[in-house]
Subunit: 207 residues, 2 copies
DNA sequence: TCGTGGATTTACCAAATGGTAAAAAAACAA
DNA sequence: TTGTTTTTTTACCATTTGGTAAATCCACGA
């Protein structure tokens, strides 16, 4: 059994753990936690089921590992929001990064959405330890901008909610968008233009 | 066996089908389709599992029935968008209704979100037959307002996406919002104020 | 090349789960 | 009340699924 804290993982361990996590991301994001089976993940990874359980303690272990690793990536765009930058530009750039990430990493977006939809039973600790502090920090930054008169009065918390909701919507509800937009090749450019217009209007200084 | 097309359903049938669908909504919205079990639904409904299968052909039948019945309710706010009303007021009122519905019917919102997240495997027909025509119709209405100069240039399709995303976010990602907003009693008033400000800014006539 | 520990497979298992058959019970019309 | 139909329960079943034990294979350092 691979000892996590004693020996450093071999090349095979490193490769297979990565392969398994990638397969699991594919399957979990498509079917949700309960809907995914170890057999599916094994097939996707090109490994046998017991072999997968050789690298992870169980289905839940895989899921939690995925979510934890993903959390950091997922928060990167918000981390990059610079308190010293120009407020409007910072927020609009953040929207760009967030939409780009949702479009490029739809599996990750759906994995998170699934988990939150179910009440975040397995990621709740990470939410408190990682997301919450960052959220509070950046809300304070935005509130500071508002107080300094650099932004019109607005609610930082709900502003961030709106940004998350609108950007991730394109990944999470892709099935709906496909039906409604028809065979449109790539909705991203129009989506981005719309979001920039919308949030740009909100952030515009009155007068 | 209850014959759907021949005899009219008895009082018992009517009551039990309603009880079962309500229990199923509770369970499906909480655990997703695969995560929900007939035993859970039976327990929630206070009936035995075989008794439930006496009223429905199977798990999928219950799910599809739920989704179909829900679709109408879910589209009501958009149906009420009046082509002859004042454009800005119509859209802002629509946002009010949509947010109210998401907050009051979070189980329904999550049921839909779950289904769409999984790629809409069971509701795809309804999407094409009900949602798509209504979507196209109302997009045309909004586009007409834009063409008539009653609204600033905007993308009707992505406007509706944004409204859906932001309003349903409060139901679908409630677990996240609970963590981030702390023990705040009712986020709805601030959410509504934010959404009115945001979409109000977008819809404001330039100049 | 040989031995050892890490990696993989084979053959399972127990529990959960969707579903069924048929008997029993309840409701109801005559 | 009686006969019939509807509703409910009891007792199952086959499959799926997460997981395990043990044997086997294989990479690699000495």
């Amino acid at each position: 059994m691979p000892e996590s804290s004693v020996k450093k993982p071999s090349r095979i361990q490193l490769r297979n753990r990565r392969v398994i996590l990638d397969a699991a991301l594919e399957v979990f994001s498509k079917h949700g936690y309960r809907g995914a089976t170890l057999d599916q993940i094994a097939a996707e990874a090109g490994l046998s089921k017991p072999n997968i359980l050789y690298y992870f303690d169980g289905k839940e272990d895989i899921h939690v590992t995925l979510l934890s690793q993903l959390m950091d990536t997922w928060l990167d765009p918000l981390v990059a929001l610079d308190p010293n930058g120009d407020p409007r530009r910072e927020i609009l750039d953040y929207i760009d990064r967030k939409l780009k990430m949702a479009v490029e990493l739809p599996r990750e977006s759906r994995l998170f959405a699934n988990e939150i939809l179910q009440g975040a039973p397995r990621i709740s600790p990470e939410l408190h330890s990682h997301l919450k502090p960052l959220f509070d920090e950046k809300c304070a930054v935005i509130a500071g901008w508002v107080d300094a008169g650099k932004l019109p009065p607005l609610d930082p918390q709900h502003l961030l909610f709106s940004i998350w909701a609108t950007t991730q919507h394109y990944a999470d509800f892709e099935a709906q968008a496909r039906v409604l937009l028809g065979a449109e090749a790539d909705p991203q450019p129009r989506a981005l233009a719309h979001l920039r217009a919308m949030f740009g209007a909100l952030l515009a200084q009155p007068g």
